[in-house]
Symmetry: C2
Subunit: 433 residues, 2 copies
């Protein structure tokens, strides 16, 4: 290793961090990529892991494998516990030891976390869908309840067990609601022969419409497609009370359920607080158009955790393409700074957005011009995700699984995987500390 | 459901229980198959999940899917807490409720659990490889230690982190030691570029030879193949002391390690104790040649948990084919009893056994006559396991993975999957109770 080279630390191996690291591969810098997981997660397909369509490893790709050939990139599995921006070093908890890692440039890319909009008490009974562990926990939860529902004699309890409430009318909420509905009513109930189980899936959205940023016609199309699938959609009413057995909405509706999936919104990663700067709403860290953090020399930040306004004064959305493009730009601007060249400001190349609602149903808004819905939108969604998935083997397996699922209505990955004895022992120990 | 039909309860969806249920499919009985998991595990390939070669779901097949078309077979996910053999009913804990399930015939098929031969204190620091959760815990453990080892400055600690001790010279021990060695030294260390990490894998066996039931020539071949791969083999010395940082053998050797895999032996499932009968050595339940349990009318038992001697007075081994054949026989003998036909005694159709030791290395003892070793034995092993794996999709994916791994030395399933927040919360709660 050439110790004369400037050292860039990237925190977070999500889309922002990954694209930053890629842009720095084989450049005259030493890169250290830190993440709490040893893999990058293809988050747009988390709901497919949660609903038994894909294996966890099919959407998780080891960071070390991605950068296997890039000798200037090192990976560090650990949790950042402190950023000393004065002396330019970060503290990382790595298993049994604390490492102090110095940097010349730092890129923050730790994304976002779910927000309960001040109602943090909801979280105790909510399931989330932000990490691979979340997805497996949701899968275990749904399958376990279904197994119980087949045997319980009490009709009221059984109905609550087969009712799922999804909160949030964005793409994640729509995709999750649609996929859970299909899992229950097209796959699982084919095998519960001795009692007719029909699941109820309710999508709750505070606003009077779904897919807030989309044009009205696509919002309507999404609503119609969800309803035609069988999902109940309740618009214009926030959640009021959440407990273990029911959810109460602001309009007084009470839904008996053991399953609340929270996909209502996200806020910036709390790591931003380590910079001791005032944050924007949603806990987002203000950055300059170059992705530099003001008043913190050498620190850049990208993606969901940041706040940057476009020419019209609206903040860029918390979307994967923004994170990817900002990650790349941060890397290029660091190289420009090192090389004494001029830095570029961020311009967003918006290729549009899409959301899928079960088999053959989707909406797509391409380049924010072309509006697609239904089967053609679903095919566009499928093609895009296959192309985007990292790693040849993953792509092949995902494809095999999708084709198989499509023709057979099968969901093979239906295993309830409880935590092992050893891990239970470990987590017990870590509590003692 | 025809309530006039005799009701058969099968406890355990391992190889014994599965083959019993299959033999009862579409017969004039109602079958209830109870297991603590919602899936059957193809246990011979657990070590491949533990060493990142296969995904958990590739060796786990949902019980309901297996019997989807058999309307006389119901599945119940739950833990048996009591067998009332006088009134012929079993108590099952199924989520929030306790079910009392009556039977006319009962087949016990709950297999075996690891034994520490009286040294249960070893278990606190040991990893096992009996369940899918065990395999994932071992995978997490190995990968986490490797990530730490790349960063730790202390040479002694680093060597301990990359040392794995496998106890037990049976097929599981050999397969696990070989696969871990290859994972470390052919896959992982290709990516830890900044420090040369070489793992040490030590196989410890109490007896003076490996593969106790095999002929001497194959034992020798296995030993040579393991050593040629790079595994250290220590024969004729039992483990004396196990603590978090080291293992001490009876001959005084001290091996600093954080990883002890216990594959030294198994004993009969403790469920047998519910019948309140004297057990044979190894906690095995004595059965009649018909697989009936003496003095417990209507109860049959099969597989690892049972004790039955062959004509020469030796107990049948605790092997999958014995469990499969006994499971089938128990089902047939129950149907014979119902139909007033004569029951048949057990005769073991022994097709031999094999053990694999990494890529291209194996020993096979076919029909206890033909002895194969090396590449040809490995091919035989590969073919057998592909044919035996349940489910078309699984077979296809496993095959894709194997071919891919073979040509690329890749291990794609390298994700450290910590338990999710929700599950941590749950296990916390269950402790409170």
């Amino acid at each position: 290793m050439n110790t004369q080279q400037p050292r860039v630390i990237i925190i977070g191996a999500g889309f922002g961090g990954l694209f930053a690291a890629r842009a720095l591969a084989n450049q005259p810098v030493d890169v250290l990529l830190i993440d709490r997981s040893n893999f990058h997660t293809f988050t747009p397909l988390l709901y497919q892991v949660a609903t038994c369509a894909l294996d966890p490893s099919e959407i998780a790709y080891p960071v070390r494998t991605i950068f296997r050939k890039d000798r200037n990139i090192r990976a560090l599995l650990g949790t950042v516990t402190d950023i000393d921006y004065t002396n330019k070093r970060v503290t990382v908890e790595n298993g049994r030891q604390l490492l102090e890692e110095p940097y010349d440039y730092l890129i923050l890319a730790t994304g976002s976390v779910p927000t309960y909009f001040g109602q943090d008490v909801f979280r105790e009974h909510a399931l989330e869908l932000r990490t691979l562990s979340d997805a497996i926990a949701l899968r275990n939860h749904i399958l376990s309840l279904f197994e119980q529902a087949t045997w319980i004699e009490d009709d009221t309890a059984r109905e609550a067990m087969t009712t799922i409430v999804v909160v949030g009318g964005g793409p994640t909420g729509l995709e999750t609601a649609g996929a859970i509905y299909e899992l229950y009513n097209h796959v699982l109930n084919r095998e519960y022969l001795h009692r007719n189980l029909q699941a109820r899936v309710v999508l709750v959205e505070m606003q009077p419409h779904l897919l807030d940023p989309y044009p009205e016609k696509l919002r309507q199309a999404a609503l119609e497609q969800l309803r035609s699938l069988g999902v109940e959609v309740m618009l214009g009413t926030p959640v009021q009370v959440v407990d273990e057995h029911e959810v109460e909405l602001a309009n007084g509706t009470v839904i008996p359920t053991y399953t609340l999936v929270w996909a209502a919104g996200v806020k910036g990663s709390p790591l931003a607080e380590m910079l001791e700067l005032p944050l924007q709403r949603g806990g987002r860290l203000p950055i300059r158009p170059t992705t530099e953090v003001p008043d913190r020399p050498g620190i850049y930040a990208v993606g969901d955790m940041t706040y940057l306004e476009d020419e019209s004064g609206r903040p860029y959305p918390m979307l994967i393409p923004v994170a990817q493009q900002q990650g790349e730009l941060a890397a290029q601007n660091i190289l420009a700074e090192i090389g004494g060249r001029e830095q570029r400001p961020f311009t967003y190349n918006d290729r549009g957005s899409m959301a899928t609602i079960g088999r053959r149903r989707a909406v797509a808004w391409i380049y924010n011009k072309i509006q697609l819905r239904g089967y053609i939108a679903w095919l566009a969604w499928l093609a895009l995700h296959l192309v985007t998935l990292l790693g040849f083997r993953n792509r092949l397996n995902v494809f095999v699984n999708w084709v198989w699922n499509y023709f057979t209505y099968d969901r093979s990955v239906r295993i309830i995987l409880e935590q092992g004895r050893r891990e239970a022992v470990k987590s017990e120990k870590s509590k003692v500390k």
